[in-house]
Assembly symmetry: C2
Homo-oligomer: 389 residues x 2
């Protein structure tokens, strides 16, 4: 057979590897805390609907940018979040946040351009940059900022600025951060926006955890920082907020004047997002703010419960659904994850989140009900207590 | 704001342009024959289901390659079509045929590689090659083969072989062909496979119209030609066969040994196909062969009715859902489409299907019920009769 094209770094999914480990161990009651999810009920269930309700029938293909009724509802939600009206024409429906980031990267990168990734990072970020022909450059910041011992002396802007090169095109960040749960505040975001302006970079703000910011100030949309909107691609997902990860619906809010380029590019990845999936998002969006706030409190409670029980050092979580376990005293993260799998607990080795994170592992504290998470914590405490072989 | 990356040829959708024309003319009863679709009822409606029924709940994310129960059912359908068992592991679920072709192209192309496209072609084909960093090379064959005056003297293989260059990586074809309705027979497909072997090229066989082959022999899956399976990416869509284009579900059958590369690459476009969309396909797949055959006969009848009424020369249709109107005596296809839009009929200018097709236009004869299509044909006959301005 003929050969494939440019070989890119297409590592197998670390989540699939953990699932293989769990299956191989055949533990009676495995507890998967490796997936980043909640145990909350979904905000919408599939059903048939009449055309009048959504402006389109279930079997009809949606326009490339998304179903108008959904884009309007998303624009209203975004407007409320940002405190300023958002034109629905700036919104592109995507098949999840992964697809949104992929469309942005393909639009802004020339082969060999690089993207600074605030690290540790969402485990798909570097692969997406590779697949778009770019070069991912991890910039370690979140562990430094998370640690009370190092945070005061750590310069976020100097660290990022030192990584800017002639081919740098963008900075990618997710905030609150997955996997550490660290949250950049308004002043830090403003400093990053200033840096992006000085070097004329795009910002790709991954807001997957917008509903799970536990801080007193609440979620800060990067695009609302002064000057940010003109250079920020805001990536949003319905998976965590509305608990419909199976629908695979996300959306992208482009800077003013940029949406048309993205909307023209998206049909070169897929013609449009599934209409049935868009209807699920449309229904889920009518979830009350009170219900979403209640889920945020439950997630925060789940973190506190896990944190109190954990006998393993870990990052302090201000938002998001996971904490990063500090295994530097234990040794290797891979080894720890294997041992935990033997005890029927799924975690993800830290290396998946950054080259400098081999001695860490991610634990999602909302992937199971609180008592089940506690049981898992007890099991992994024992693994930690025994130390590495 | 910063600049975008490599500018690629991202032409606006010709379908959207036609819809703007139709809206601008404000005709009382517009008949849209520009979209490639049928007026048949969908083979599945959305509904809620229990996990046991599909092995996954509606809100849960599907594995990257697709839901196992659906891949197994698709493998069974493919096995029946091919007359030989197809391993479900060779099947990758995609968000429609567009996504399938995009994933293949990104996997096989290095920047600047070229793809031979048997032309006229599906209107997204050239854009997909551009977006994957490749160079599309249209090879005019279908009009030559369709015309009884030119067909006997036309050499399919010499035409394609003349276009093979040092950077050629693949041949893309859809058969039956959209927009002409021409059908390559087993001998022609075998000659193309032989050519691909000699030059070590991949074949990308777009089988979107597999259910609408009106010939006595019926649909011939390119992958079943001797030697083809090892180098053929077979692209399938549920949109036309099962009338669920809104679900956006397609699938790819990779050559033996190649599926893993494609399955690893797909999550760099989107994490997995929407679970609700996959369930729609799962249900639609239980449509009886008798019902699918009945729809094939209805589509063939719709063509005959339209062909008898058409006073415009057009391609003879052996399969697919459209015929290509020959406007060489009229003049320009764009002008003709504008005039037809004034009369409330939507067609697509031929240029969207190939650089050499400016004097043609596509008409989908199943996009409306037969009597409505007849009404449209009467209107466009009049436009044709008046000649260009």
């Amino acid at each position: 057979m003929p050969s494939f094209g440019t070989p890119t770094d297409l590592s197998p999914s670390p989540l699939a590897a953990v699932e293989r480990l769990l299956r191989a161990r055949g533990h009676r009651t495995p507890i998967g805390l490796h997936q980043e999810k909640t145990a909350f009920p979904p905000c919408a269930e599939p059903r048939v609907w009449e055309r009048a309700e959504f402006g389109i029938a279930p079997h009809e293909p949606a326009p490339p940018a998304g179903v108008p009724a959904l884009r309007e509802r998303l624009a209203a939600v975004a407007g409320a979040r940002r405190g300023t009206a958002v034109d629905p024409d700036r919104i592109l429906l995507t098949a999840g946040a992964t697809h949104a980031v992929a469309v942005v990267l393909h639009a802004i990168l020339r082969p060999g351009d690089d993207v600074l990734i605030l690290s540790p990072q969402w485990l798909s970020a570097t692969g997406l940059v590779h697949a778009a022909g770019g070069v991912p450059r991890e910039v370690p910041v979140f562990l430094e900022l998370s640690d009370p011992a190092t945070a005061p002396g750590f310069g976020l802007v100097p660290a990022v600025e030192a990584a800017v090169g002639p081919r740098t095109r963008a900075i990618y960040l997710n905030n609150p951060n997955n996997p550490t749960g660290h949250r950049l505040d308004a002043a830090q975001l403003a400093a990053l926006v200033d840096l992006a302006e000085r070097h004329d970079l795009w910002l790709i703000a991954d807001n997957a955890y917008e509903n799970y910011d536990f801080s007193a100030d609440g979620f800060r949309d990067t695009a609302t920082v002064d000057g940010a909107d003109a250079r920020t691609f805001a990536v949003h997902s319905c998976s965590k907020t509305y608990v419909i990860p199976g629908a695979r619906v996300g959306y992208l809010i482009s800077p003013p004047g940029c949406a048309e380029t993205l909307v023209k590019r998206s049909p070169h990845t897929l013609r449009s997002v599934s209409t049935v999936a868009q209807f699920a998002a449309f229904e889920a969006l009518s979830t009350s703010p009170g219900e979403l706030a209640a889920r945020r409190r439950l997630a925060a409670d789940a973190y506190r419960l896990a944190a109190e029980a954990l006998e393993i050092p870990h990052t302090a979580v201000a938002g998001g659904l996971s904490t990063f376990l500090d295994l530097r005293a234990y040794g290797d993260g891979e080894e720890f994850v294997r041992r935990c799998a033997e005890q029927g607990v799924g975690l993800v080795p830290g290396r998946a989140f950054g080259e400098h994170c081999a001695a860490w592992a991610r634990l999602c504290f909302t992937a199971a009900p609180p008592q089940t998470v506690l049981e898992a914590v007890h099991r992994i405490n024992k693994v930690y207590g025994k130390g590495a072989s």
